[in-house]
């Protein structure tokens, strides 16, 4: 594939994704709301990602603490270690890292699942039986990812703080209660809310990209594999891109 074809394909995907997102917002507020399907998907997403985000979150906090401690020690500011860990995790690392893991685990799964349904005519079967597959398969999954990622991020933030505490007690004699007190003193409302809010956007990106690529998969099993891997690549890129935009927006809304 030459450069022109690649650029053409990139803009085709972006255009298709935009149209797909517009369709999502047009459908999402119309009944029936498929609550049981949304709950089922949220359960599945939670089970799928719980263990991997737990381990990653803990190690994130631990490594962050171990890396930051000597730097702060150089300036005699070791007492700021809990606050530094908390702010790094809550403002940036927790949301972005969780979203990237979520894209790898869940985005690829949605792409493969819907892609497989497309190439084996299951989506056609649903349409012929007078059930709107977009509402039943796409809207429910995108709502589930949009709601689930913020919950997972809050959990990862918490686990990372525990990891951070382990890093702190390697060099300092600090009780957990005092550690938490230092964390709470450092973290403000304006740190927590933007950090969690942007994960709604990241969750939406993972759901809509995976669904779009799976829903429009072609060419049999090759198409399913492509939908799955492309979902991870595109959603990871979009997460980083939107993170940059949202961080800028946050700094405008909360300038201090």
């Amino acid at each position: 594939m030459n450069l022109t074809e690649r650029v053409n394909q990139f803009f085709t995907v972006i255009g298709g994704l935009t149209a797909f997102s517009i369709r999502f917002f047009a459908e999402v507020f119309r009944p029936p709301y498929e609550i049981s399907e949304i709950r089922k998907h949220m359960d599945e997403l939670g089970v799928k990602t719980f263990s991997i985000v737990s381990v990653t979150g803990f190690i994130l906090g631990l490594v962050l603490g171990m890396q930051t401690q000597p730097v702060l020690a150089r300036f005699g500011a070791e007492m700021f270690l809990p606050g530094t860990i908390a702010l790094s995790v809550i403002r940036e690392l927790g949301p972005v890292l969780t979203a990237l893991i979520f894209a790898g685990r869940v985005g690829s799964g949605i792409g493969a699942e819907l892609g497989s349904m497309r190439v084996t005519e299951q989506i056609d079967a649903m349409e012929v039986s007078a059930v709107d597959p977009f509402r039943y398969l796409v809207v429910t999954r995108v709502i589930a990812t949009t709601l689930m990622l913020p919950l997972l991020t809050i959990y990862v933030d918490f686990i990372a703080l525990i990891g951070g505490y382990i890093a702190v007690i390697i060099t300092q004699n600090l009780t957990f209660a005092y550690y938490i007190q230092l964390v709470l003193e450092a973290v403000r409302f304006s740190d927590v809310i933007p950090g969690v809010t942007k994960t709604f956007v990241f969750g939406f990106i993972v759901g809509i990209v995976g669904s779009y690529l799976g829903f429009n998969a072609t060419k049999g099993t090759e198409g399913v594999g492509k939908a799955s891997t492309t979902a991870v690549v595109i959603s990871s890129l979009l997460i980083i891109l939107f993170d940059m935009i949202l961080v800028r927006l946050t700094l405008i809304i909360f300038p201090d």
Binding site: T120, Q122, V128, S129, A130, V131
Partner: protein, 242 residues
């Protein structure tokens, strides 16, 4: 019941259907016969608007389905059963859930009534024991039967079969042909069967159309087909003897 007029469909430069027209009276079975890749499945998918034709009209019960709104189309689709070439069973659902799915979506039956209906349909296709199995645990023939049971569970007035015996051995193919006839006796539907299997065509059809190069080159009864001197018809008949 079903009337198609001058239907055209192309994919890029490839003309698949070039102005085909036909009619299926109520309660009759029309078989559309043709080699692989001649557009039989495309025609069937146009009839339920899974594909949009480029030109032509499709009337079902006097309504041109190409002019229906989404809501009207979905109402009409509830009266149409469709057996897909790949059976298209929902992988993530058990046989019970596959059959219950249309009932949950389109009827007000309670759980007990749904269970009764599901078991009744499974009994009709001879697979009562498969109720708790997942699609991946079923053989090709069983998948076709379950697909047929799901398509028929809302008691449609029209049944469309897309290559019902593709990939099956000759014995299972005959069983599926018999099942199509049995279901026709049971539910008195209007059927369109798309196939390249002469056994299915001759045993189920009231009328056969032979599709070649985007248009019909033969229209007649099974008996008329067997005495036809059209080259492709002869080849199909000899394939049956083989």
């Amino acid at each position: 019941m079903i009337k198609v007029e001058n239907l055209c469909k192309r994919f890029g430069n490839l003309v698949v259907l070039n102005g085909v027209s036909f009619e299926v009276p109520e309660g009759q079975t029309l078989v559309i016969l043709g080699r692989s890749g001649t557009g039989k499945s495309v025609l069937l998918k146009c009839i339920v608007r899974l594909l949009e034709p480029d030109a032509g009209k499709i009337f079902i019960d006097g309504k041109n389905i190409l002019e229906l709104s989404n809501k009207e189309l979905n109402e009409l689709r509830k009266e149409i059963g469709f057996l897909f070439q790949s059976s298209a069973l929902y992988d993530s659902m058990s046989v019970r859930e596959n059959l219950a799915f249309p009932l949950i979506r389109h009827t007000n039956f309670n759980d007990k009534e749904i269970e009764t209906k599901v078991k009744e349909m499974l009994r009709l296709v001879g697979l009562e024991d498969a109720i708790d199995k997942m699609p991946s645990e079923l053989s090709g023939g069983m998948r076709k039967r379950i697909g047929l049971a799901r398509a028929l569970i809302l008691h449609p007035k029209i049944m469309l079969y897309d290559e019902p015996t593709t990939g099956l051995d000759p014995v299972t193919s005959k069983e599926i042909s018999k099942l199509i006839l049995d279901m026709q006796k049971e539910f008195k539907m209007t059927n369109i069967v798309v196939t390249h299997d002469m056994v299915v065509a001759l045993s189920t059809a009231d009328k056969i159309l032979l599709l070649e190069s985007g248009n019909f080159i033969f229209a007649g009864t099974p008996d008329e087909l067997t005495i036809s001197d059209i080259d492709i018809a002869q080849k199909f008949l000899s394939s049956k003897l083989d």
